[in-house]
Symmetry: C2
């Protein structure tokens, strides 16, 4: 979306912007199905890899480039895809995402200026899929499935309520349920967090030292919830985690013993052994914000309002623009820039 905003011309319509976004999501979803989870398990950051191509495709659709230009655009994007998953927890992770947008925009600017690149970037002779993952790609198969159904409606988008890794969303919901049942940090003897095999690979910080690392730590998230009922977004930005957390953290263990047959499910189960000797256990498979348990329209708008950061009357004005596809993107940008 930042790539699309950055190349918006004064007369670009919101309708075209949203259509381009849908096409970018389509590419990301379809390519992701082909490549993940192997790509991520190998160490690549999917956003930096697939995101570059998704952003480039969206940009090409938005700016209505020719088919020949689209080939060069995707090719120049493909040759720039990069991003390591180890950056999770450092400034490098948002950088990977920003760099995907930067590289898509660079590719577009070059193609607009007559740059030509290899026009078959997904060829099975050392093309992108072959090089990054060793797999074959069939454009024909992809075309058959393109927008049938559209990825943006099925499975649909995930929405985060807090700035932590989406792999922790089910565990977060489970922790909130346990808090409702009265469980507090001081009551815990052990906390077992159960995932399917590989389900916690992105949650790589067992004992995070900074708030940023804590975004990728189920321990840090559960601790916050058991302490006060919810997470505080500021705690993911603090330079050093609390000593109380460091003291509490050893009671948590991961287990990779959950089975799941539903590919849309992201199950996490918490089993707490209380100091009293009792056990409490909750499993969540479709967390709030996931396509199967979407946020309410009200909550979505609240999230958007938080992001947009405008006052009451301007917010109403913004909403009316955002839901009127005849509006110009440049007008929205102006509003956002205030």
């Amino acid at each position: 979306m930042s790539a699309l905003f950055s190349i918006t011309a004064p007369d670009d319509k919101l309708k075209d912007f949203l259509w381009a976004f849908i096409q970018g999501v389509e590419l990301a979803g379809k390519f992701g199905k082909l490549l993940n989870p192997q790509l991520a398990l190998r160490g690549w950051h999917t956003t930096g890899m697939i995101g570059t191509l998704a952003a480039a495709a969206a940009v090409g659709v938005y700016k209505k480039v020719t088919v020949k230009q689209m080939c060069s655009l995707l090719s120049l994007a493909a040759t720039q895809t990069s991003g390591l998953e180890i950056q999770a927890g450092s400034d490098g992770k948002p950088f990977n995402a920003g760099m995907a947008a930067r590289d898509a925009v660079s590719a577009y600017v070059l193609v607009e200026n007559g740059f030509k690149a290899n026009e078959d970037p997904f060829s099975n002779t050392r093309g992108w899929f072959k090089t990054i993952a060793g797999i074959d790609f069939s454009a024909q198969e992809m075309c058959k499935l393109w927008l049938h159904p559209a990825e943006i409606s099925q499975p649909g988008l995930w929405f985060k309520q807090h700035p932590f890794c989406s792999a922790a969303m089910s565990g977060y919901d489970a922790a909130k349920i346990l808090y409702q049942r009265g469980i507090r940090t001081k009551d815990c003897q052990t906390v077992n967090v159960h995932f399917p095999s590989g389900g916690d690979h992105a949650l790589r910080y067992r004992l995070p030292m900074t708030g940023k690392e804590g975004k990728f730590s189920i321990e840090y998230i559960i601790w916050q919830v058991f302490r006060s009922g919810d997470v505080s977004d500021e705690l993911f930005e603090c330079p050093k985690v609390s000593k109380n957390f460091v003291k509490w953290q050893p009671c948590v263990s991961h287990k990779n013993d959950l089975e799941t047959s539903d590919s849309a499910a992201r199950p996490t189960k918490l089993t707490v052994k209380l100091k009293s000797g009792n056990f409490e256990s909750v499993q969540v498979s479709f967390p709030e914000g996931s396509p199967k348990c979407p946020l309410s329209r009200k909550k979505l708008l609240e999230q958007l309002h938080l992001q947009v950061m405008v006052s009451g009357p301007e917010w109403i004005n913004f909403c009316s623009k955002f839901t009127n596809p005849k509006w110009m993107v440049s007008e929205l940008k102006q509003q956002l820039g205030k």
Copy 2:
């Protein structure tokens, strides 16, 4: 080198510039030994991949960053390494190289401004080597070999005399020898070009359509030499190859039947069957410009003069600066910018 020039401050010394360059070459050579030829055979463009890290290392040494900063700098470079080999023959190939410099400079600018990234980018738990090539990396082993011997002196650098792929250099020399023996395009019935296994993977255009593609075509290079005794650099920039070449090209075949036990050798053998029924054959293993057959100092200076593009008196002035390590890099830059 372009990365180093781009971040040169007014008081940076040529001596520091050259020392940084040596360290960058060191990283490129040492990492290349660990990763190639597999990395290139898989489809990656080594310059875009390893070059980004080499440029970042050179920049860090040049700007005397702290050890902690160097870790973040290499980490931000590692997370940006990319580049597909299929771009050979299109604008995408020089772009991969330019992008390596761009990404190294971006990483440096961010680190200078306090950006922090994962400080163990070469970790064997999904670090760079593991992710891109599935191999382990030992920093300790690397340290033992660092500058012992220095890659810049052993094996040393390759210098190109013409802007075609270095994989064609032995075949080019062999063709010139055959031309000296009187062989011309019109005399050839068949031309067999023999390589070791994989030795021609970069020479991917059997029948190039443009001069740029011709940079990666042993056929196009041999044809030029058999036609007029040498290649013309302009012919690698023309939008369409000559019809005469297209007519002649079918007489050339590749064979991957050479064996080599010397890792420094890049053997290519040409066997020409003449229309007269006679055979002529030449093998070159260490082409002119390779470390084992270096260009003379005179030729090197001629090449530099061609690149620098200054007139006689300025050239002498330039040479005296370039060989005086006390000079400022900024003065050289000024000279080059004229």
